[in-house]
């Protein structure tokens, strides 16, 4: 067996596939420049090439592909949001995620687990029922379950009433899933590169040229590029990059921390979230418990980890899962979440012609990777905002037409 594996591994016929081409010099001009080589930017590049035949595209990434929030999130995919706009949008993404491994011919380890949002108060039960009704109305599988159901479905969960916040029930969302976030970025990158999209890492945008209200080029640390259209998809740095184009955003950059435990055998199948306690936990395919809580209490451009976060997280988590007291923490990290006032993203056109934005992804960006990539590609190609994106326009803050998304993760409800 071991010998057979070795023979297979050393056989030159089964070399690992080199899917990223060697980096080339920047061309002087592209039809579309995408700023940010994370999941969203790479997905947009892929769908521009696949759906619209636009392949004269450059993805400019300051660091390495998928090295920002794409590699820092906790990889939960779900569509049980509260607003009809949000439910429609995230449900399209969930459907795209389901078929993504096959579509990209790249295993993203999509794993459907079921998703429980715990409720500890009457108010939270009411919100759960509200969300379940909105979800069902829009064809999304969600229902409210109570303590006896939870005891059967999540046997590890501590349902004792002798705790500070006893569990009263939960919003159960069977399609809730996790996936390998790096693989999503790599899969999109590989297929986009195959179709002719250029991926430039270590390429930082330092300026954006706007003439008569239209973007005409971008300045980078490797020289100037002329471009037809620009898509900004940079997550935590949204405000700083859009300022280069003279656009102000309703965004604050707040660190969001997470951690994983050492790996153990699979014991926790579903994804458990508590909005009231600011806790979420799932077990990855590697066996690590992936845990996170609320965003840090004040904004900053820094991704340091803190003991305050760990104490706050564990204080609540140990009430839900007492066995966690025996689990060593393996890694702790943070990503920069760009938080909007209404917990919904900002997508589509901007006051600058041909400059499109995909920002405000706060704590809900990974699960939207597919749909935002696909629909932003459509917006760039057709110059028309699809109906599904219209509620999330930057303009909504000028008209006070917000999309108050209380179903978002890691925010107080």
């Amino acid at each position: 067996m071991a010998f057979g594996l070795l023979k297979y591994g050393l056989n030159p016929r089964f070399q690992p596939k080199q899917f990223l081409r060697d980096s080339k010099d920047l061309k002087s001009s592209y039809d579309v420049v995408i700023i940010g080589g994370g999941g969203h930017g790479l997905a947009a590049a892929y769908y521009l090439a696949r759906d619209w035949g636009i392949t004269n595209v450059a993805v400019l990434e300051k660091g390495w592909l998928g090295g920002g929030n794409t590699g820092r999130n906790t990889a939960i995919i779900r569509s049980n949001y509260l607003t009809p706009e949000g439910v429609d949008f995230y449900d399209e993404s969930l459907k795209l995620f389901k078929g993504l491994s096959r579509e990209l011919d790249y295993n993203i380890l999509y794993s459907e687990r079921g998703h429980f949002t715990l409720a500890h108060t009457d108010a939270a039960i009411r919100t759960s029922r509200w969300r379940a009704e909105v979800n069902k109305h829009l064809g999304v599988n969600s229902e409210v379950v109570y303590r006896d159901d939870l005891a059967r479905m999540v046997p590890l969960l501590n349902l004792s009433e002798e705790v500070r916040y006893p569990v009263l029930g939960a919003l159960y969302h069977p399609p809730g899933a996790i996936a390998r976030h790096d693989a999503v970025a790599w899969g999109y990158a590989g297929r986009a590169a195959e179709m002719g999209v250029e991926l430039h890492q270590n390429t930082e945008v330092t300026g954006i040229e706007v003439e008569d209200g239209t973007v005409v080029g971008v300045e980078t640390n490797r020289g100037r590029i002329s471009c037809g259209r620009v898509l900004q998809a940079v997550a935590g740095r949204s405000s700083e990059v859009s300022r280069l184009a003279g656009i102000d955003l309703p965004i604050r950059s707040v660190p969001l921390q997470a951690c994983v435990s050492t790996p153990v055998k699979p014991i926790l199948d579903p994804i458990i979230v508590s909005g009231s306690l600011h806790v979420y936990i799932s077990q990855s395919d590697r066996g690590e418990f992936v845990m996170g809580g609320s965003t840090d209490p004040y904004p900053r451009y820094q991704t340091s980890s803190s003991l305050d976060f760990m104490e706050g997280l564990m204080g609540h988590l140990l009430e839900l899962f007492p066995f966690m007291s025996e689990m060593p923490v393996l890694r702790q990290w943070a990503g920069l979440a760009d938080m909007t006032p209404d917990f919904s993203p900002v997508m589509g056109k901007t006051p600058v012609n041909n400059y499109y934005i995909d920002a405000g992804w706060g704590t809900w960006g990974f699960k939207a990777t597919c749909v935002s990539g696909k629909r932003m590609a459509e917006t760039l190609a057709t110059e028309k905002t699809p109906n599904i994106l219209k509620p999330f326009a930057l303009d909504r803050f000028r008209t006070f037409d917000l999309v108050g998304e209380k179903g978002a993760a890691s925010v107080g409800h």
């Binding site: 405000s239 102000d248 955003l249 309703p250 950059s253 209490p297 904004p299 000028r398």
Partner: protein, 122 residues
């Protein structure tokens, strides 16, 4: 950032404080357009660098201003708001007011709009 120097109470644990947003002059809603008002309500400076912010020491309910570097996460200076705000500002409707009061309110609106554009603090 574990200790914050409170102008009233001296150095205290950072957990005793809450963040209250950028220091922005409240514009007079009667003197600005709806767009400007929407900007005031929603748009964030969100600058990577040194900013001026409101902070509150919760146990004593004391609000003060801090200059903070958002990249290094360091507070450079904290001070009492009276350093900046020396007199009361009213936001009356211009037509109800006397002529002299009117020009004063205009000034407040102007100061704010330049503040937003240049990004300079106060």
């Amino acid at each position: 950032m574990k200790i914050i120097e409170c102008p009233l109470n001296g150095p205290r644990n950072a957990q005793e404080f809450v963040f209250g947003g950028d220091v922005i002059n409240h514009p007079n809603p009667h003197l600005i357009s709806d767009d400007q008002w929407a900007n005031y309500v929603f748009i964030e400076e969100n600058r990577a660098g040194v900013v001026q912010e409101w902070w509150c020491h919760v146990p004593t309910a004391y609000w003060f201003i801090a200059e903070r570097d958002t990249v290094k996460d360091e507070i450079l200076r904290t001070f009492d708001p009276s350093e900046i705000y020396k007199e009361r500002i009213d936001y009356n409707r211009p037509e109800v007011e006397a002529q002299s009061q009117d020009t004063k309110n205009n000034k407040v609106g102007e100061v704010n709009s330049t503040n937003k554009e240049t990004g300079s603090s106060i």
